[in-house]
Symmetry: C2
Subunit: 404 residues, 2 copies
């Protein structure tokens, strides 16, 4: 049995016309002799509206009731899709999480799927039915409705693809795929045909718009190939798969950039155990997201310089915390707004020497100063002045032959 899981995001089912379009997409796969399992999110805007209602009821709305509340959105979208397929003379019905059941574990609002009972859906597929399954939700051992957290419909689709051994899992969304870099920043950006889970994870700043990192991780762990594509344009999307499946002679797969960061440098910090923790603990407590962290080797063995980046929105809060916290010792504090992190990402760099050099040279040739450097196995990130972002993207996109 050739099974495909099709997942439609909120914008793909955002109106009656779009739902009719979704029914046509499903029909297309049927004609190609696929058995189709559909997963749908709530119509765009609905979940936010429900969440706002809950906030007006209580500033501390109960998690289990939150799950009952927001899970209603997918129920509506699914019934409209099934209703449309039936209108077209096809056999279809909505399957709610508890009807299958899709068993979850863990706390409300952030449960995880641990088991999917295949029997009923498999029988239904054999009868020629098209199951429309509510994404983002399941039911726990106590028969309580649970949700999987934001982006949870992707997780539903991935787990269904795994349990039903689907040929692929297609995530329909409002973008055409994953790009070599943000097309809004560089018109030369190209759609990537194939990308590995690891690269996709590293490209989070781009990828977050397409899929939540946790869903990519789900797909990686469960070895589910994902095609990300648009439900509005009939074009091939981007396949997210494991490294070994990728035929790609490019060293670099994509380039990501951040928009509006600030750099914080603490000069002359005592170089002893626990110092970094004493700095980052109060920031973490205040929900300040620290990104790049670089610590230089202490030249005299007693003092060191520590640099990290944060979102510029958090700058004032960060200043206050560092200045008020007496346990943090340093000689000098430097803040700098208006920096951007540029990262080149690609599994190809593991086996290709000189990638770092080529990156630095390309930037140098364009007179772009590198402020901080940080590297991982498949990513090199540099911090530059945000005014140079476009110049840097253009140079690197060309250097690593992503332009064509």
């Amino acid at each position: 049995m050739k099974i495909v899981v099709l997942k439609f995001g909120g914008t793909s089912v955002g109106s009656i016309d779009k739902i009719k379009n979704v029914a046509n997409i499903i029909h297309y796969y049927l004609k190609k002799k696929y058995k189709v399992i559909v997963v749908s999110s709530a119509m765009s805007g609905v979940t936010n509206d429900l969440v706002n209602k809950s906030r007006k009821i209580s500033n501390n709305f109960c998690d289990s009731e939150y799950d009952i509340l927001v899970s209603s959105g997918e129920q509506v979208a699914c019934s409209l899709i099934a209703g449309r397929l039936l209108h077209k003379g096809l056999k279809s019905r909505t399957w709610l999480g508890w009807q299958i059941p899709i068993i979850t574990h863990g706390p409300h609002k952030q449960s995880r799927i641990i088991q999917i009972n295949k029997k009923k859906i498999m029988d239904y597929l054999k009868e020629g039915g098209i199951p429309i399954i509510t994404g983002f939700q399941g039911v726990n051992k106590d028969s309580r409705v649970t949700t999987l957290g934001r982006g949870g419909s992707d997780a539903s689709a991935i787990m269904l693809a795994k349990f039903f051994n689907a040929e692929k899992c297609v995530i329909y969304t409002d973008v055409q795929g994953v790009y070599t870099t943000d097309p809004n920043k560089l018109s030369n950006a190209k759609k990537i045909k194939e990308i590995s889970y690891e690269e996709m994870l590293e490209m989070a700043s781009l990828g977050a718009k397409v899929m939540q990192p946790i869903s990519i991780q789900d797909a990686r762990l469960n070895k589910v190939d994902i095609e990300v594509k648009s439900s509005f344009v009939r074009k091939t999307g981007t396949l997210i798969t494991k490294r070994a499946n990728i035929i790609n002679n490019k060293i670099i797969t994509g380039i990501s950039s951040t928009q509006n960061d600030s750099k914080v440098s603490l000069i002359g910090v005592k170089d002893k155990p626990g110092v970094a923790a004493s700095i980052f603990r109060p920031l973490s407590k205040n929900l300040i997201n620290v990104d790049m962290v670089v610590q230089n080797i202490s030249p005299n063995g007693r003092e060191t310089d520590l640099t990290f980046t944060i979102k510029s929105d958090d700058l004032n809060k960060t200043k206050k915390i560092i200045k008020e916290n007496k346990s943090i010792n340093f000689r000098k504090l430097i803040f700098k707004k208006g920096v951007s992190k540029i990262s080149i990402i690609g599994v190809g760099m593991i086996t290709t020497p000189g990638v770092t050099f080529r990156m630095f040279q390309a930037l140098a040739e364009n007179r772009i100063n590198i402020q901080v450097i940080s590297t991982s196995e498949i990513k090199i990130s540099v911090l530059i002045d945000k005014r140079n972002v476009k110049k840097a993207l253009t140079a690197l996109h060309k250097e690593f032959k992503l332009d064509y």
Copy 2:
């Protein structure tokens, strides 16, 4: 265990503030040492919006998917009520139909509750919990979500009151109760303290605004006392109960009137079996609702006069059907727009002679001509010119001592 079932209609949960108010009402019963079972409708407007969506998807939207679609509305309202009670430090949760379960029988969109599993809810009540149960829905033997049809939340409340042997079932709505006559037509109208199921059924034209006749019938068959009251005003409402429970020295309980009817008279119809059917069959087929039907005794044994009333909106359609249908034989056809039906209703008339005479005399004294008369065990209806409605209501309201 002193149990009360509180049912809140769409307008009672129509906004965040109204839901907060509902939580206060529930709290009030708890303070009076009641164990409270809550049933809620969807927030006002929600169900209509969902139904409109289904119509845009298909002009023949599948019934089982319709049930999935519209049942989402109660789910939202219930979670918000439970969320608010939890916010107030009370123990509460939403119970969806399938979680209890509430078992239904019959076709989708018009299922009937046949069984309610008491165990889980009873345990929950004993633990001090306040169950918030989705009205209007249940689950059938095949684990499919079903709905009970319009007004179905009342049916849910009544069946819960029956199965849990509740002291009473309170239906919260946007009117303060049932009135002796429509307060919009007669400012002298008084709220009725107690009314029998049968009277309530006969007062359909008034009662429909308060409760669907089918729900009143449910309450009657299951011997459930119902109090209808407003969720916005803290006043006693109207108790709907069985005749024997009513302490009432009034002969007439209420007076109803219709707004805009038309009278159709067929003069000189052949007086033989099947004639009435040949007239009403085509009307019924065209969904024309025929109300009063009066057939005079044929003076010569061969011909008779037949009169009936319809809504004035249906007049043109009715004319066309009668004129075009060759199987209907008559000598003369008379149509008259602008008539109203005035009915006096009361179980007291069974044991009190002379009620008909008093009604006719009161109208005659006010020079109101009676065009047609029809009677049942607890109701007398007359057809009058619609210009005389207010005069008639005033006269009858006074005659039967309903003014105080």
